[in-house]
């Protein structure tokens, strides 16, 4: 079997009083061995639920899934031996020290820190100076490194990371992704979820999730290439007024704010910057700037959400 994770038509819903809340619908995908696979989607898309099903913490209502060739319901014991799971919330023992947490989880997995030291070395070295400190007293970035070390302590074949970079500063985020690429070199399949679209391009392949469904699965490049319409970025002195004006006119198809620019798709594509400027000339805007740009994952996400 070539795929590290295979999910087939998984459905999960929760009962909240009398209403049924659908968390996952018709989820199917495959992750190849050694791949860095991203689940990209906003909060509430169903990413955590999917992780909990794959790590055997939750049972799906319908559908089936395999992790490392083992079925998640009947062979959960095998899966628990060989997956690493890092939940979105820091959930190690705050009152145990760094070292104690590590050796605790190592023992539960019937291994030891020494045995797999080479795997976590590069991560653990960064927190080793604080190994006598209680986990609760670590900084956010350190806690995350400790959690990752604990998830890796038994040399898992598949690693599940639930929003590992949420609430982490930009530098640590960059470092963290570098770590993930290093781990990939050890042959570990990594499945990572994130609400940040910019991190999608760091994955080998991504699944875009929205409201309990997967909208598209492709490589980051494939996804942006699928964005067929020419995209323009527009800015002026009063960005909010500009957006309202663009949206109210009938020249522009879509307009979304992206930081300092608005990303705009015209109904009738202008071929040059001049033409584009003319198309929106009716809008009185100061310091108008128009530029042709390539699509990002986020543009594709917005486009998919419209469908």
């Amino acid at each position: 079997m070539n795929s590290a994770v295979k999910v087939n038509n998984v459905y999960k819903s929760f009962k909240k009083g009398k209403t049924e809340v659908k968390a996952l619908q018709e989820i199917s995908f495959e992750v190849n061995k050694g791949e860095l696979f991203g689940l990209i989607g906003p909060d509430g898309a169903g990413k955590t639920t999917l992780f909990r099903i794959l790590t055997t913490l939750m049972l799906a209502n319908k559908g089936e899934a395999w992790v490392d060739g083992f079925e998640v319901v009947s062979q959960y014991k095998e899966i628990r031996k060989r997956v690493g799971y890092m939940p979105g919330r820091f959930s190690l023992y705050q009152d145990l020290t760094v070292e104690e947490n590590l050796s605790f989880f190592a023992t539960l997995f019937n291994t030891s820190l020494q045995e797999n030291y080479d795997l976590i070395k590069s991560i653990y070295q960064q927190i080793e100076p604080f190994k006598k400190r209680r986990a609760g007293a670590l900084s956010g970035g350190m806690k995350q490194k400790l959690a990752l070390s604990c998830a890796l302590i038994h040399r898992p074949t598949v690693l599940f990371l639930d929003e590992p970079t949420t609430g982490v500063d930009a530098v640590s985020r960059k470092e963290f992704w570098e770590l993930l690429h290093q781990l990939q070199a050890h042959g570990i399949t990594i499945i990572v979820s994130t609400p940040y679209m910019d991190e999608a391009s760091l994955c080998d392949r991504v699944a875009l999730m929205q409201e309990s469904r997967i909208m598209e699965i492709n490589s980051p490049k494939g996804i942006t290439e699928n964005f067929k319409k020419p995209l323009w970025s527009v800015r002026s002195a009063d960005m909010y007024k500009l957006m309202l004006d663009l949206r109210s006119g009938d020249v522009v198809d879509t307009c979304y704010p992206f930081g300092q620019y608005h990303h705009v798709v015209f109904k009738k594509d202008p071929h040059t910057v001049e033409e584009a400027k003319q198309a929106i000339a009716t809008i009185s805007a100061k310091d108008l700037e128009v530029q042709r740009i390539p699509a990002t994952i986020e543009d594709c996400f917005m486009e998919l959400m419209r469908k």
Binding site: M58, D95, L108
Partner: protein, 372 residues
């Protein structure tokens, strides 16, 4: 085995690193055992008495003196207006009004009989009841004295009388502490066993560490044993501290063998730990566990025979106490401490509590799932 050992190691480390928990575990029994038995006294003292004396004779004086001379009654006022006395009752300044009619002495001397009137403030039922009873006894005594004064009683009573003299077995001085301390000790052991363990497991749920444990290959029984054993040990430590305090402070030495208590406690703790485990499988937050525990604790204490005798409860409540493990331990404690019962005497209790342990633990283990 290695997994279980590290689980236990972790649990003890956590307990000893949490100064608040540690303080609660060790200070709670000490404070409770030092304060509660002294306060939880069934004897009613300092009953506030208001005397309305319409007679103002030497006999009425004598009677009042005799009453207020005891430690049970404290005179609030000596008046001749019933209305005034009632206002004392209304203001809760008096519990009891004794009214002596104007012809008290006259009737007593002339007709050899007199009536007095007693009004009780029944808001505090226990006080009213006991106060009334004490007062009646004192008046009875007074009656006897008056008769003795007047006439030499014949050697043989003209009417046959039965005099009752009683002896209190196992607790000859009717010392309430001997009775209360073992009971309170049971409550303490129960609290540590059932509720600290429940809170501990729910805490793991709340901070999410249980998820991290659940994705590891450890077995359900290992996890549960890892939780039960530390609190089993702590429970026995509390029991030891408690027994030492009751010996050092109250001079209570169990009449029976201390090991009988320990053997029973060991089984009993299994039962209450099962209960704690059960609570933890139902509660998702520490608050829920706390409220559930509090609810159970109230029932256990009030229907456990600690403060009120089970024998005087209505039939349905007596049936209910049969399902209250606390009541068995309280009974066993009193049997061993006061009566010196041995293992053979408590075999039924032991068996029933063991059954509790089996049922509660099985239910809890069945209800504890690694995944939802």
């Amino acid at each position: 085995m290695r997994a279980l050992r590290i689980l236990l190691e972790k649990e003890f480390k956590q307990v000893f690193r949490d100064p608040a928990i540690l303080r609660i575990i060790f200070m709670m029994p000490i404070v409770q055992l030092l304060v509660m038995p002294l306060a939880a006294d069934y004897e009613v003292k300092n009953i506030k008495l208001c005397v309305v004396d319409f007679d103002r004779s030497s006999y009425s004086q004598k009677l009042v003196n005799k009453i207020t001379a005891t430690k049970y009654f404290r005179s609030v006022d000596y008046t001749d207006s019933y209305e005034k006395a009632l206002t004392y009752v209304e203001k809760d300044e008096a519990d009891l009004v004794l009214q002596i009619p104007s012809s008290f002495e006259k009737q007593l001397v002339k007709e050899d009989r007199a009536t007095v009137f007693m009004a009780l403030n029944a808001i505090n039922g226990v006080k009213a009841n006991l106060g009334g009873a004490y007062l009646r006894t004192i008046i009875g005594d007074f009656n006897e004295e008056v008769r003795l004064e007047w006439l030499q009683l014949p050697r043989l009573s003209p009417q046959p009388t039965i005099q009752v003299s009683a002896i209190n077995w196992f607790n000859p001085l009717m010392n309430y502490q001997v009775f209360m301390v073992p009971g309170i000790l049971v409550i303490l052991v129960t609290m540590v066993g059932a509720f600290l363990s429940a809170l501990n497991i729910v805490k793991e749920k709340e901070i999410g560490t249980i998820e991290q444990i659940n994705v590891t290959p450890i077995r359900k029984y290992q996890f549960i044993l890892g939780k039960l054993i530390p609190f089993w040990v702590l429970g026995l430590i509390i029991l030891t501290i408690g027994l030492i305090i009751s010996w050092a402070v109250y001079g209570i030495v169990p009449a029976g063998n201390v090991f009988t208590i320990y053997i029973f406690a060991a089984v009993y703790l299994l039962a209450v730990l099962g209960m704690g485990l059960l609570v933890s499988t139902f509660a998702n937050t520490q608050q829920q566990a706390m409220l559930l525990s509090f609810f159970l604790m109230m029932i256990f204490i009030l229907l456990g025979g600690l403060y009120t005798s089970i024998d005087s409860m209505p039939g349905w409540a007596q049936t209910f106490t049969k399902f209250n493990p606390v009541s068995y331990f309280i009974e066993v404690m009193r049997m061993v401490v006061l009566k010196g019962s041995g293992l053979y005497d408590i075999r039924n209790h032991l068996f029933i509590v063991f059954a509790f342990a089996v049922v509660l633990n099985s239910f809890a283990v069945w209800n504890y799932r690694k995944r939802s």
